[in-house]
Symmetry: C2
Subunit: 292 residues, 2 copies
């Protein structure tokens, strides 16, 4: 089985200054750190990255900052899916113009209860208008935020019409059974876990890796699990790494997850900006931060 | 009681060409028609206007086209609220730069389950950064699409801090009781019905009018109701107009509402582009159009 995109990808948080502007220098330093820790790539500008709190021009500037600073374009998987597909086309073309060929793409997420025909039509518009054979799209299934599930019939039609473009899915539903059903149903398609603890069970049954939030903190453990999960001689070390991943995930889920991750990064890096979030998300309270 | 914004405002549909580009000429003609029919203004680029299927630059170009064509800026109430408040600031400033001072503003709608503090902080950022005393914002409560209800405590704090900016709300929840509770709780605040049949009962208990979809088709009836609902001598005519409004609303709710309105406009104007929608929304099927 071929998996076009495989590995541990960090759903990176996005640092902002006290005035809430993206902090490019801190972001680039974080990308370097994640790659040093063993991440195969950085999935910037996803839900954890507060992507939908940044304008199109802010998103472009962040990606440009990473590429300009020397982060290899093939290590970057930006989220480019926004509510309006015409803007998704623009953001995706911009990524390609920088040599970034792999993107994670939300469905158009304002209208709810849309039909499979409508969702297919939206993704098809994007593929047709971007019209770049280099493009590889990871579909982004996160119904609890998008309100628009990516259904099996839609994936089937996208795979049939654009097999070299829609090559994988990030499943952030939290339901392992859905991920396994995707693996079963779609060969040569990369199913990536959206929750850190689920990468290991998914890998054992044909999954391709993960795009996850806790990897901002425990990337080396996830990378170790990814590379060694099938080696019986490493079973104990894999189990120990998995236990640390589960513990980290539990820790950052006690309070708001993104705020918790940022608070911990502020401590580990000594860079205070990390504790900031853009409204409508808010930093942890002092009491929460102390308890964390 | 003072109602800063009052009247019948049409949540205008947005025509697109066969290639799905905004059809500026047809849109301007529709604005003129709505005003001739008695609309106090055109609330373009709302949910019915498929706003969140258009990019920022497409939204700006549509508003510019209307103003350039001579539609008075004080007749235009564009939706400027998008997921990212930094872009909401940009769209709102753009409207103000054209002399358009009244906007309808969705909350940031990607993240769900956000706190009142977070929602207040997002709207406050917008007010502080736009920083234009001319600005009048109609909050947009439509939880079934946004997933982010605008709660009473948030309205109370916005009214206290920015009383001249956050002057009203479009309530598209469909719940008359919520609208009446808003009227009761917030004096000198414009509560506008988001559903056509509810304008009349709301007006009778202190509401300020409506921003609605069916007014694309029955604007003159709504305008008649608005101007005459308190006149006992016109009671029979008001009731007859209300019956036509209810019938029109029922008719376009049989199938997908936006597609139904557009189909009927394609017929009434003879302009075929009106039947087009942007994915993920789709035109009516031939069978649906025939039955309609």
């Amino acid at each position: 089985m071929d998996r076009p995109i495989a590995g541990v990808f960090c759903a990176s948080v996005t640092p902002v200054t006290a005035d809430l502007a993206p902090d490019h220098a801190a972001f680039v330093a974080h990308c370097r750190h994640l790659i040093e820790q063993g991440c195969d790539g950085v999935a910037l500008l996803g839900t954890t990255g507060e992507a939908n709190s940044f304008s199109g021009s802010e998103r472009k500037a962040l990606l440009e900052a990473a590429v300009s600073a020397g982060i290899a374009p093939d290590r970057l998987l930006p989220g480019t899916g926004v509510a309006a597909w015409s803007e998704t086309v623009d953001l995706t073309r911009h990524a390609l113009s920088l040599g970034v060929t792999r993107v994670v793409m939300l469905p158009p997420f304002y209208y709810k209860g849309i039909s499979d025909d409508g969702l297919f039509a939206a993704y098809a518009e994007i593929a047709e208008r971007v019209a770049d054979p280099r493009l590889k799209v990871v579909l982004y299934h996160i119904p609890q935020f998008s309100g628009v599930p990516i259904t099996f019939p839609v994936i089937e039609r996208l795979r049939a019409r654009y097999p070299d473009t829609f090559v994988g899915i990030k499943d952030s539903s939290g339901e392992l059974n859905n991920m396994l059903a995707l693996v079963e149903r779609f060969p040569n398609f990369s199913v990536l876990a959206g929750a850190d603890p689920l990468m290991l069970p998914l890998l054992r049954q044909g999954g391709a890796g993960c795009i996850t939030a806790t990897s901002n903190l425990v990337a080396s453990d996830l990378a170790f699990i990814f590379r060694n999960h099938a080696d019986p001689a490493k079973a104990a070390e894999v189990d120990a790494a998995q236990a640390r991943v589960v513990a980290a995930r539990t820790r950052v889920s006690q309070f708001a997850q993104i705020a918790s991750i940022k608070t911990l990064l502020a401590r580990s890096t000594g860079h205070a900006n990390w504790a900031n979030l853009r409204p409508p998300l808010l930093p942890l309270t002092a009491a929460e931060a102390a308890e964390l």
